[in-house]
């Protein structure tokens, strides 16, 4: 019986260590990441940054600063920004951090000061936004966050006209929590929400009907993907069978010396 308890304990311990360690969400830049000192001024010209890469840029109040980053399924992003400005402004100002997905759809923040207002005497303002966890698949009609490009826009939405154009200093950091990982969702987005930024062409005629593409079935189509429910459940079945044999063996009478 002692062996039984020991093996159960070992099994539980193994399960615990294998469980993915929760990543800390402390907003610190990744070590070795180079600082970005640029910002775009529109969706098309947004400066691409990576999670953990600090951004520091000089700008004028009234500028609309754009950055973009890539998100994968299962990740939760937190954006922290600080805008500091010289003293001597004439009134209250309201700042905002807006996040859009690859289709320029507004994304909700689940936490963080998204549109703080500061008094004339303040010399800096801190903004924050925690996004929803990115889902691997969602119905086309839904607005759920999906893998692909995300845009961040930092701007001032309300301020006295007198204060427009004054120098500001913007710091921004996108941090990511949960690298991929299995989620409760099934399905997969065939193409991530990465916008097509090439100049378009206006068609002169409707495209001709094209023959039905024959579905190619190869062996690889039949194999389940790594991390799919098929693989997990099969592994569980194998483990259960092994554990059954072990359990059976434990009840065997020891041979007396």
């Amino acid at each position: 019986m002692r062996t039984l308890i020991r093996s159960v304990a070992a099994l539980a311990a193994a399960g615990l260590t294998l469980a993915p360690a929760a990543a800390s969400a402390a907003p610190t830049p990744s070590p070795g990441a180079s600082t970005v000192t640029k910002a775009g001024t529109s969706f098309l010209t947004a400066t691409a940054i990576a999670a953990g890469q600090p951004v520091q840029v000089d700008a004028s109040s009234g500028d609309h600063l754009y950055w973009s980053f890539r998100a994968e399924a299962g990740q939760t992003h937190t954006i922290n920004a600080t805008v500091s400005f010289p003293k001597g402004r004439s009134g209250r100002s309201t700042w905002t951090i807006d996040v859009f997905d690859g289709l320029r759809r507004r994304q909700a923040c689940t936490a963080g000061a998204q549109t703080p207002t500061v008094d004339a005497t303040a010399t800096s303002v801190t903004l924050g936004c925690t996004l929803r966890r990115v889902r691997p698949w969602a119905e086309p009609w839904s607005g759920d966050p999906l893998p692909g490009t995300y845009y961040v826009r930092l701007a001032v939405t309300d301020l006295p006209e007198l204060d427009l154009g004054l120098p500001i200093d913007a710091d921004l950091l996108v941090s990511v929590d949960g690298e991929g990982g299995a989620s409760g969702d099934d399905g997969k987005l065939k193409a991530p929400l990465v916008p097509n930024t090439r100049a378009g062409t206006v068609l002169t005629a409707e495209p001709m009907p094209e023959p039905v593409a024959e579905k190619k079935t190869s062996l690889t189509d039949w194999l389940p993907e790594a991390g799919s429910r098929w693989v997990w459940t099969t592994a569980g079945g194998v483990l259960a069978a092994v554990a059954g044999v072990v359990g059976f063996a434990l009840t065997r009478r020891r041979r007396r010396p």
Binding site: A12, L18, K38, G40, T41, S42, F43, T45, T47, S60, G62, H64, R70, P86, F100, D101, R105, R106, W137, E139, P140, T157, L159, E161, L166, P167, A182, G187, K188, A191, V194, P195, N196, T197, R198, A199, G200, T201, V202, L203, T204, E206, P207, E210, P211, L223, E225, W230, V231, T233, G236, G237, V238, L239, A241, V242, G244, V246, A249, T251
Partner: protein, 425 residues
């Protein structure tokens, strides 16, 4: 134990195989095709009489601007083509007609000869009038037309003294022409009229306005704007004219388009989508003029018969550059009998309509319409997953293992009891 190890090894092997021959990597970030055209930017400097005033760090405005230009020319990236145009540099007289034609290009747009450019800037003396409108129009001509965005950096200390043409109207007119042109403005004085005018020019073209407080700030800002011309110049979107109804609307292939939309106007476009494909569209309407503080944009996809398929909508309030919305749509999967190879699939035409709920402030110009940016993409549809009745996760593995272990134990104990009973009988 050997058994367990072996099965684990088999499992690992299976995992590696599937990882290696997994699905093809998704489409990489499309960063826009590299264009052969170099980034082009022109600095437009006001050299009117008022530039003599000594009010920036105790130095005259012109000397601060000259120093900034020198540093910018020194730090200029090799591939950037820079031109310099001045206004009010030569005619000191009182004749308005002549004074308002006073604008020259002192460095032509092209690869920069640093020594020559610096010499040209050093020789400037504050002299005449301030024909900003004319200078902007000429600068746009200097930059020429092409497939990429161009930038004008306007540095001035006074309002236009030569209207008409009103510089803001000139800016709006230049922005409405085919070439994508951005005007960034820098004001050397904090005068209300100057600020209004420069803000109007910047907003009308999607540029920025900066109130210069010090020489260092001027230098770093101009450097930043010149760098931005290099970093962010992209292939300009294709100009398209949406129509008032779906039937004769332009047919769009995937890509980025630009158009103009007036207040309360509807613009229609068509996109062919084949079965098994997903339509993705997004739209941004730029608020390039003063509008009432609450506004919205609506992008709808409809079928040919007017039936709405899906809509994207967004509303906001306050000071903002663009308001955007987007949508995804794919045809519902049909349970059709297996098609024979001779069958053909026809593309369904989906109509896209863009409308806005922007309202002009009194005195706001209604024409030309506001810039509208439309992106269209057609990709493979992502069908709804058919969830198998299976599980996933470490808790499941633990549960199954425990269940197996308990079953094994119970079976073992039962067997022992049964064997013992059977022996006794």
């Amino acid at each position: 134990m050997i058994n367990k190890r072996r099965s684990l090894a088999a499992l690992l092997g299976l995992l590696t195989t599937t990882a290696l021959i997994g699905p093809a990597p998704a489409k990489a970030d499309s960063e826009g095709e590299p264009t052969a055209e170099p980034p082009k930017v022109e600095l437009v400097l006001d050299v009117s009489g008022s530039m003599r005033a000594r009010d920036i760090d105790g130095r005259s405005r012109i000397s601060v601007a000259q120093q900034a230009f020198n540093e910018v020319v020194d730090a200029l990236p090799d591939e950037t083509q820079l031109g310099i145009r001045v206004l009010g540099a030569t005619y000191p007289g009182d004749d308005k007609k002549q004074g308002c034609r006073d604008t020259q290009q002192i460095v032509p747009v092209g690869p920069v000869d640093r020594t020559q450019a610096k010499a040209a800037v050093a020789s400037l003396r504050p002299t005449g009038w301030t024909p900003i409108g004319l200078a902007l129009r000429s600068a746009a001509q200097d930059l020429g037309t092409g497939s990429t965005a161009r930038r004008i950096v306007l540095i001035t200390d006074g309002e236009d003294t030569c209207a008409p043409p009103d510089p803001c109207e000139v800016a709006r007119e230049l922005a409405a022409q085919g070439t994508k042109l951005v005007v960034d403005t820098l004001g050397l004085v904090s005068d209300e009229k100057v600020r209004r005018q420069l803000l109007c020019i910047a907003t009308a073209t999607g540029g920025t306005y900066t109130a210069v407080q010090s020489g260092d700030q001027l230098t770093s800002r101009v450097k930043q704007l010149v760098d931005r011309a290099r970093d962010t110049y992209t292939a300009a979107p294709t100009v398209v004219g949406g129509s008032t109804e779906c039937d004769n609307a332009p047919l769009l292939a995937p890509g980025v388009y630009t158009d103009r939309e007036a207040f309360s106007e509807h613009r229609w476009y068509r996109v062919p989508v084949r079965p098994g494909q997903e339509l993705r569209a997004s739209v941004s309407v730029a608020l390039d003029r003063p509008v009432n503080p609450d506004y919205g944009v609506l992008l709808r996809a409809t079928a040919r018969d007017g039936r709405e398929l899906v809509r994207g909508v967004d509303a906001d309030s306050g000071r903002i550059d663009v308001i955007s919305a987007g949508l995804r749509w794919s045809a519902a999967e049909e349970e059709s009998p297996t098609p024979s190879p001779t069958d053909t699939v026809t593309a369904e035409t989906v109509c896209l309509v863009v409308s806005n709920s922007l309202a002009p402030r009194p005195g706001t110009e209604a024409t030309p319409g506001m810039p509208l940016e439309l992106t269209v993409d057609v990709v493979a549809a992502s069908p709804a997953p058919d969830g198998p009745d299976l599980g996933r996760g470490w808790a499941l593995l633990l549960l199954l293992t425990l269940a197996g272990l308990i079953t094994g134990l119970v079976t073992g104990l039962l067997t022992r009891w049964w064997v013992a009973t059977w022996r006794e009988n």
